[in-house]
Symmetry: C2
Subunit: 190 residues, 2 copies
DNA sequence: ACCTGAACACCGTTCAAGT
DNA sequence: ACCTGAACACCGTTCAAGT
């Protein structure tokens, strides 16, 4: 097993190429979504298509490298939110942030949701870590009696991804209103 | 303007081809989703790729022909539901039916939601008609005081499509539970 | 009037040949 | 060790040539 993020022992030109591809991919994915042409990425990075595949053997591998930071941030945000005063508000705010991030890159919600379910996906680890953090956030709100207990984290997560997906088609505004509906549905009833 | 559904004045072989393409497309879209290969459809239908394009100049045109019946049925179902005893339950049941139908064909929710927003889409008319019917269903439930008044039909519709989308990734079961959350969020509050 | 398939411009992915 | 691009098998879409 080779650590793909390895750096120091990589040849200087290889290192440069890798970082160049990454920077370009970030831009292209943001503009065109997660299904953007890899050939296009290689071209813009001024690199042969084979080089791209050498560094990132699958689309998911490249996506993982591009999204890792963002997912890590979301995980950290969830951990921090554990200390907020209102468990319910903290959870809702986090969900909103997640669905906002989703709307910023077409295909992002699908990729993350997919990675969560598919343990083979290179995105699985990052996604799962983020969801674990979100799970704690949910549990706290449930224990505080502020969120109904018959929902699990995956469900909540899928809902947030769905809201992000809606933003791709109907715009962020509508997406936000739907998130509001969900938030009300999550409140403890009876 | 030529009526694309025209029949009697079409040459017999053309008519046969058209119907064959349609039947095959229905199957292929159901199996592989709305992004399935058109070339594959033509191949399976035993027809040149040019013939497919002659009958259906765009993917949307083919999709429209395939989905028209289903959308029309959903529209009719919404109209019938207007006479159900419980306006709220009728609306929720319709939404569930819509999201179920969505889950049956990958890409269906995206196509319909897209068509709703894009007036140029060949799917626009069918989709819009369905949503108009759903709008009446919503309005009745709101007038009966059973659904909050600060939601509009497009919002509700987008939410239902999102639930259908979720089913593509996380399964129907989870999708149904999310629809339940939405249903509770839709209830009149305060 | 209609059908066909070659043609064009793109993909994703692999791998022999080069440095 | 790494890079390159040709090669292969696919697309979507158009259009000249055929019946």
């Amino acid at each position: 097993m080779v650590e793909p993020t390895a750096g120091a022992e990589m040849r200087a030109d290889a290192r440069r190429n890798r970082e160049n591809i990454l920077a370009v991919a970030r831009e292209v994915f943001d503009q065109q979504g997660t299904e953007a042409s890899l050939r296009d990425v290689a071209r813009r990075a001024g690199v042969g298509i084979g080089t791209l595949y050498r560094h990132f053997p699958t689309r998911d591998a490249l996506l993982e490298a591009v999204l890792r930071n963002g997912l890590e941030n979301m995980r950290a945000a969830a951990d921090e939110a554990l200390e907020a005063s209102s468990p319910r508000e903290a959870l809702i705010a986090w969900l909103q942030r997640f669905s906002e991030r989703s709307g910023a890159c077409r295909g992002f919600p699908a990729s993350v949701l997919n990675a969560l379910v598919d343990e083979q996906s290179e995105l699985h680890a990052s996604s799962a870590a983020m969801m674990e953090a979100a799970t704690r956030l949910l549990a706290r709100a449930q224990e505080a009696g502020e969120i109904r207990k018959d929902v699990d984290a995956e469900e909540l997560f899928a809902a947030a991804a769905a809201v992000g997906w809606v933003a791709e088609y109907s715009g962020r505004k509508r997406a936000e209103r739907i998130l509001g509906l969900l938030g009300d549905g999550l409140a403890t009833t009876g």
